[in-house]
């Protein structure tokens, strides 16, 4: 492929960007050839600046929009030829500076070239119907869609936002003591838990777990409590006449159960002497 000389850069890049030298100076870039191996020497703007300028575009659509808007053109009337030429010049610049983003731009260049080629072909009315839309229509649709969101992004940036416009308040709390509440338990939950354990036990074991009436269990605890306080308790002191016969029986069963579980011992120092209850275990110190 032959080289194309891009001249009058000032016409391509808007004057206000002041990127390239004034009129008369030119530089060469290969089209469809190998990438330029050397930076053009006649640029008086450092390549970084150009890079910044080109990177200011958010993509091929953005660049295309810029070119159209710069010339105050309606998207609907894009002069594909002129715009494509300018577009490709930009892409060449990018290639020259080996910017990473060139691939997407090249794709757009190809699309533009394709649209152009299709426009160049004489077409009958039938052909138009067959092919459907004007080849520009899809590009226009994309450009308009992109422009919508580009605008929306700018508007979003204008919305008052936290950190910049809306400052949240960090008022100190008055001094207060914070209480962390303890979890609450409902008796129902507790009973359900027990039922579940029991069902599980029934499933996994053959023997039934027999639980004594709670009054006996409670009394066992009470007896243990008493002998813990005085180490040796006189047998009779464990009973209270106030509780009546039933109370006595419960206490007695509790003592027997404790005995059976080897938790206590009953000591009698002489025949018919006083019975003493002694804890078999060293009791915890508190």
């Amino acid at each position: 492929m032959e080289e194309s000389v891009l001249s009058n850069q000032a016409a391509v890049i808007p004057a206000d960007t002041m990127l390239l030298s004034a009129e008369g100076e030119t530089y060469s870039a290969r089209i469809r050839g190998e990438p330029l191996l050397q930076m053009p020497e006649d640029l008086y703007i450092p390549p970084d600046a150009l890079e910044v300028f080109l990177e200011a575009f958010e993509g091929p659509l953005d660049l295309l929009l810029y070119l159209i808007r710069r010339q105050n053109l309606d998207i609907l009337e894009i002069p594909i030829t002129a715009i494509t030429r300018q577009y490709i010049e930009y892409v060449e610049l990018m290639k020259a500076f080996r910017l990473e983003l060139a691939a997407e731009y090249l794709l757009m260049a190809a699309t533009l070239a394709e649209i152009k080629s299709r426009l160049l072909l004489p077409r009958s009315k039938d052909a138009i119907e067959e092919e459907g839309n004007d080849p520009r229509a899809e590009l226009i649709r994309r450009l308009q869609e992109y422009e919508q969101f580009k605008e929306a992004a700018l508007q979003l940036d204008e919305l008052p936002r936290v950190e910049r416009d809306s400052h949240l308040i960090h008022a100190e709390h008055p001094d207060m003591k914070q209480v962390k509440p303890l979890p609450e338990v409902d008796l129902k939950e507790l009973l359900l838990a027990l039922k579940e354990v029991m069902q599980r036990v029934e499933l996994t074991t053959k023997h039934q777990i027999v639980m004594e009436p709670l009054s006996i269990r409670q009394r066992m605890t009470e007896v243990l409590d008493k002998i813990r306080q005085i180490e040796f308790a006189e047998f009779s002191t464990l009973f209270s006449a106030k509780e009546g016969k039933l109370g006595v029986v419960i206490t007695f069963i509790a003592i027997l159960e404790l005995l059976k579980q080897a938790l206590i011992d009953i000591v009698q120092t002489e025949i018919y002497g006083t019975l003493h209850i002694k804890a078999l275990s060293a009791l915890p110190e508190e």
């Binding site: 160049l120 138009i128 004007d134 869609e145 992109y146 919508q148 809306s166 400052h167």
Partner: protein
């Protein structure tokens, strides 16, 4: 409870909170026997939202509830207090965000289609880190790409109550009409085309 007293309590509570409070959470602060009903609470909040408190504090309803913020008039002073200037977002960041906001639920590929460039992974990462976007599902496509949507936190940040409050998109010109006129043009401009061809040959030659 008197509405004036109710308003003061609400302000005090909102000032102490580090996040917007919903009506329900605000209700929690009152004793059972002193609890305003929802109507009273709403009325007090409505009044608070209309007028700044002490000309400094603005009560605002955002997506996740009510919050107290400082009247925008004082932002210039507050900013000076900070060493760092508030973050500015790049256009790529804003465009990606705005596409997720307006097109949600949306895949990355769909965002890329519209913007014409690959979506920057670190932008998506930042959006997730700020909890402005979240994954709401997967599209039934090869690779099951994630469907992205915005969060309440995003709305809160931009002082919005709902997505409806985002600026409306400028209407797309009626495309059918545009295309029709183009086609009409095409039929007429055979001669012009010729000129174009000549022009182009110079350029692309």
């Amino acid at each position: 409870m008197q509405i004036e007293q109710l308003k003061k309590i609400i302000v005090g509570v909102l000032l102490s909170a580090s996040e917007p409070l919903s009506l329900e959470r605000l209700g929690v602060v009152f004793d059972e026997n002193d609890k305003p009903d929802n109507k009273q609470l709403k009325e007090a909040l409505a009044e608070l939202c209309t007028e700044p408190v002490a000309d400094v504090i603005v009560i605002k309803e955002v997506a996740s509830g009510f919050r107290a913020q400082i009247k925008i008039d004082y932002a210039p002073y507050i900013i000076k207090l900070w060493e760092e200037k508030p973050a500015r977002y790049s256009r790529a960041f804003l465009e990606t965000l705005v596409l997720i906001a307006y097109r949600q639920p949306v895949t990355r590929a769909e965002i890329e289609d519209i913007r014409g460039v690959a979506v920057n992974g670190s932008i998506i990462k930042t959006l997730f880190e700020r909890e402005w976007i979240r994954v709401v599902g997967h599209k039934e496509l090869p690779g099951r790409p994630e469907l992205l949507a915005t969060t309440k936190k995003f709305l809160d940040y931009f002082n919005l109550q709902s997505l409806d409050e985002l600026p409306t998109l400028d209407e797309i010109h009626n495309l059918d009409k545009a295309v029709a006129s183009l086609e009409h043009e095409l039929e007429l401009d055979g001669a012009e085309n010729l000129e174009v061809i000549q022009n182009e040959e110079i350029i692309l030659a």
